[in-house]
């Protein structure tokens, strides 16, 4: 499968690229200011350059949270306008699946004793532009799915990312690098996903904050990893 990964210079993208490299043919992209080496620079504008970027691509893994850094205006612009451009180009090119990497931090203000699932509305804080921008990317994605222009899987990942055994983490929403990679890989090939599909993923840890039953059901290849 030909897979495009956005914000490829980010730490999250690198974790995912490491997991997908080999089984899939990867095209890595980021804004010109961040592109180097194998990463193709692209501003995700509304011109032909974005059309060319997605040409021949089967699926896109979009870093919708913490893929970019900069001013509040830049983040809002990137996560709305440039996402719109990318999704429009992808839809026009017939890309089958768009995997948006979001975050369970959108529920951070919910009390920990609540059984928060995909059925709960997110509650982004206005004062944290990074989270607000992630929320706005979800909004853009959902409308493209609603118009049935492209299938979108919205993967909300736990935090923090840990590269060791997540079970040893004291963070109740932690997720391991290994599980991140496996979840994205499974999302690319899984059948039975909806036109718009929220999926919550975190590692099994003590006092686990978010339940992951939907992930276990829809992404059976990682079901065992979701139980301690």
């Amino acid at each position: 499968m030909n897979v495009l990964i956005t914000s490829a210079a980010s730490a999250t993208a690198q974790i995912i690229a490491d997991a997908l490299n080999g089984p899939h043919s990867l095209r890595l992209t980021d804004l010109l200011s961040s592109a180097s080496g194998d990463i193709v620079g692209n501003e995700l504008g509304h011109g032909s350059e974005t059309d060319e970027l997605v040409s021949g691509i089967d699926a896109i893994v979009n870093i919708g949270y913490e893929g970019q850094a900069g001013s509040a205006t830049h983040l809002m612009d990137y996560h709305m306008r440039r996402m719109y451009n990318l999704l429009q180009a992808a839809s026009d090119a017939g890309v089958k699946r768009f995997v948006n990497i979001s975050t369970l931090r959108l529920y951070e203000d919910h009390e920990e004793n609540l059984v928060v699932t995909e059925k709960w509305r997110t509650d982004p804080p206005a004062e944290d532009t990074v989270l607000l921008a992630a929320h706005m990317t979800e909004y853009v994605c959902k409308e493209f799915a609603r118009d049935r222009l492209i299938q979108v899987v919205n993967l909300r990942l736990g935090w923090p990312f840990v590269d060791s055994n997540a079970a040893e983490s004291s963070d109740s929403a932690a997720i391991s690098h290994e599980l991140i990679g496996a979840a994205v890989a499974e999302t690319l090939v899984s059948e039975g996903l909806g036109q718009w599909q929220d999926v919550h993923v975190q590692s099994p840890v003590e006092h686990q904050r978010f339940i992951t039953n939907t992930a276990a059901k829809l992404l059976p290849g990682i079901a065992e990893r979701l139980t301690s």
Partner: protein, 261 residues
């Protein structure tokens, strides 16, 4: 009250200014110069200039965002979406309690509603879809909602569809064809302006939540869009009903007695 108007020199701005100029102190801003007959304060300012909007909003009681740009993708996002981000940032910075934002009906009632359903009302969940104008305006409204929830800023969103001149019923689509029906959400420009005034002046206790949306249209017989909330909550009463478009009778029958008996 002291009112900052963003994008005030477009189509709607003059009507809003006309409705409010004798009642409030207005600072009009836009990237375009005002009409030559405008008498009042004016500042050249783009709605997406966050720092500029924050600066202009100092000392204001209300911000009204009338800015809109449709065809160009970059400009549409800059103005329709980031414009509201700038407005809400300014409201937070200066603890401004109320903002008014405007947009098209389909930033809420997108094609999936409009082509299927009747009695559409402004409390439905937004479903704008991906059309550029609707989408960018809907994103702007969502930014407002998030800020409103977090900072208690009162957000009033006025949604319009088809604006008409009261004197000849002319509007965006030309030529005017009387008695042949029209967009079932058509509003005279004067009434569009008085709706802004009503939103500025409505007492806080009449608003059920911190984030309220209103469909601005007169009583129309189609039953497609519902204006009940706008009249009840804002106390807005349209003066014009564009009946020359949806009624087969002329407004003034020759004998002046038709249907009298």
């Amino acid at each position: 009250m002291k009112i900052l108007i963003l994008g005030g020199n477009g189509m709607l701005g003059p009507w809003a200014v006309s409705a409010m100029k004798e009642r409030h102190d207005i600072l009009l801003t836009d990237i375009n110069e005002p009409r030559v007959d405008y008498q009042g304060e004016y500042l050249k300012l783009s709605a997406d200039d966050v720092d500029g909007v924050v600066k202009a909003a100092k000392g204001m009681d209300v911000i009204v965002n009338l800015s809109v740009l449709r065809p160009d993708r970059q400009l549409a996002f800059d103005v329709n979406t980031l414009g509201n981000f700038a407005m809400m940032t300014a409201a937070r910075e200066h603890r401004i309690k109320r903002v008014i934002t405007t947009g098209p009906h389909y930033q809420m009632a997108g094609q999936q509603y409009e082509e299927w359903d009747f009695d559409l009302n402004p409390d439905m969940p937004p479903a704008p879809g991906t059309r550029l104008y609707a989408h960018t305006k809907a994103l702007g409204q969502e930014v407002c909602r998030v800020f409103s929830k977090r900072h208690g800023i009162q957000v009033i969103t006025l949604l319009y569809y088809n604006m008409k001149h009261s004197w000849n019923l002319g509007g965006p689509e030309a030529p005017v064809v009387p008695h042949q029906d029209m967009v079932p959400y058509s509003t005279a420009w004067q009434d569009c302006g008085t709706a802004v005034q009503a939103a500025v002046e409505v007492p806080e206790e009449r608003l059920a939540t911190r984030c309220e949306t209103f469909f601005v249209l007169p009583d129309l017989p189609h039953g497609k869009f519902n204006n009940e909330k706008t009249k009840r909550v804002l106390g807005w009463q349209p003066r014009y009903h564009v009946e020359g478009l949806w009624n087969k009778d002329f407004r003034t029958p020759p004998d002046n007695l038709r249907e009298a008996f």
